[in-house]
Amino acid sequence: MAAPESGDGNNGAARMVTLISSDNTRFEVEAAAASLSQTLQLTILDGGGGGGDGIPLPNVDSATLSKVLEYCIKHAPAAANGGAPNATAVDRAELERFDNEFVNIDQSVLYSLIMAAHNLEIEGLQSLVAKKVADMIKGKSPMEIRRTLGFPDPTPEEQAEMNAHMLEYGWAYE
């Protein structure tokens, strides 16, 4: 097993790893940022992903991966501080502003992003995107939600079942 290099690097250069998207694009990124992914963390701790090897990510395309890494790079310093208990209010406000803008994107990108975040187990990103999708469906009727998420229209049987459930959960619509 290769000895893991120190993240801080003795010569001042941070350790880099290479990630390879499903369409074979190579992304070089600081190990600390990539380690926000629980899935990648172990491989990186074992010294993987360095040099010419790279870590293949067959489920994530390059457009989505670059978006994921944008998030990781922004959040890595705060995560390194252990959830940043000593972060200033300004830092936190800046991250919040970044997050809000970050998810202000096309629906299809958002959906790819949530799948990538779950795939790579990046907790903060999972929550961020899930919250955004939750906001999108909030206040919508069941039919509107189905359309928002691209479900096929219900069959007559499904429609009957939906109507029965609407009666059962009437209290939730008050």
């Binding site: 799948m115 779950h118 999972q126 939750a134 939600i145 998420l149 479900f151 939906m162 609407m166 939730a172």
Partner: protein
């Protein structure tokens, strides 16, 4: 398109009522949002460090009320005023009355009394948000008070506990039946002798009661009774509050002299410890200044033999102020307390107090206003758990 994990993650960020509406979207969502894992995640994401409100309920004094505490936590539909009218009533015998005697994670244990009191009440476990309820049939030989124990992080099932004749009986929502959990053989060492009131606090998988000079803790899973010591205290000290917040057990107690100062220590015991430590000293001197009427005097008659002594008795000055609930937030500790006609809230962070519930006008001819105490208090946070 999405995996089950992703759907659960998305839907559990919704406010509870909206989350419940998702059951009508399709069969798969109905199944996913009915699972215990979803209900737990949804509950924890919808529950802050504070409480949504509380029930005040006293069966002997026929008092019942719900008081919302948080006016808004983000979404307006978080403000839910529970209505218990969905629980079946037989007006001829229960006069439509209902009382909440305890709460855990959004479930309430409540009863419809049979008037006159002393008859067996009808008991229910219910979820006021989903309006689902289960009647708990109380077998013979069990006292008229039931206690609820529910920790959804440990199990999807709850327990109901009751005292029998030197027994502890336990009902499980899994089997929907009662059994004897403990038989307390040693009658001379009966741990509940001197029980102060029929109100328990659910703390880390156990029910806790106040008896004369210590606390009794019933570990629900281990089915074991243990004693918890009181703090070392001066003569004349009495425990006037226990409660759970933030996973810890809090206690407030004082002598009458200490209460008169308006400085009250909130003590705390962390799980696994048997030591009390001071969590916060609450400074209520400004309340005393602003409401001088809460300084009162009563006469205490020494008890001699079988008769109270005649004569004047001893004059005791005291503060008519009662701790009701401690909220241990991440940044702030709140203490709710009652003074005559009011329930107030003190924030240790802002060092300010405010009235959260005022006296309703007392109708002419009715007797004095009943002051609620901590044992009439049931904190409430809505959830979607099934009773």
């Amino acid at each position: 398109m999405f995996s089950d994990d992703i759907i659960v993650n998305i839907l559990s960020w919704l406010p509870l009522k909206e989350a419940a509406r998702m059951r009508t979207v399709c069969k798969r969502w109905h199944a996913l949002t009915s699972e215990h894992h979803f209900l737990r995640t949804s509950f924890s994401r919808n529950t802050g460090s504070c409480i949504a409100g509380f029930f005040l309920s006293n069966i002997l004094h026929r008092k019942f009320r719900y008081v919302p505490l948080l006016q808004s936590v983000g979404d307006s539909d978080h403000v839910i005023t529970p209505d218990l009218s969905f629980i079946p009533s037989t007006p001829a015998v229960d006069k439509g009355q209902i009382y909440v005697s305890g709460s855990c994670s959004g479930l309430l244990i409540c009863c419809r009394p049979i008037i006159p009191l002393g008859n067996k009440s009808k008991w229910f476990v219910c979820n006021p948000l989903t309006r689902k309820f289960v009647e708990i049939e109380v077998p013979d030989g069990i006292t008229h008070y039931l206690f609820l124990a529910y920790d959804p992080t440990k199990s999807r099932h709850y327990k109901v506990v009751a005292f029998g004749d030197y027994d502890i009986h336990m009902y499980s929502s899994q089997t929907r039946s009662w059994r004897v959990a403990i038989h307390l053989d040693d009658r001379s060492n009966y741990p509940f002798r001197g029980l102060r009131c029929y109100h328990s606090v659910f703390w880390n998988g156990s029910l806790v009661w106040v008896v004369r000079d210590h606390l009794v803790r019933f570990l629900v899973d281990d089915e074991q009774v243990v004693q918890v010591p009181m703090p070392r205290t001066p003569a004349g000290w009495f425990c006037s509050y226990i409660g759970e917040s933030g996973g810890h057990l809090q206690m407030i107690g004082f002598t009458e002299e200490e209460r008169l100062t308006g400085l009250l220590d909130v003590l705390e015991m962390q799980d696994g410890s048997s030591e009390w430590s001071v969590l916060y000293r609450v400074d209520l001197r400004r309340v005393v200044e602003q409401y001088p009427g809460i300084r009162k005097t009563r006469r205490e008659f020494p008890y001699i033999g079988l008769r109270f002594s005649r004569g004047m008795g001893r004059k005791i000055e005291y503060l008519d102020l009662w701790p009701m609930y401690v909220v241990r937030g991440t940044e702030d500790v709140l203490m709710l307390f009652s003074v005559p006609g009011k329930i107030m809230c003190y924030s240790t962070e802002s060092r300010n107090f405010s009235t959260i519930h005022g006296r309703e006008p007392v109708a002419p001819g009715t007797d004095t206003y009943y002051e609620f105490s901590w044992y009439d208090f049931s904190p409430y946070n809505p959830s979607l758990f099934a009773p």
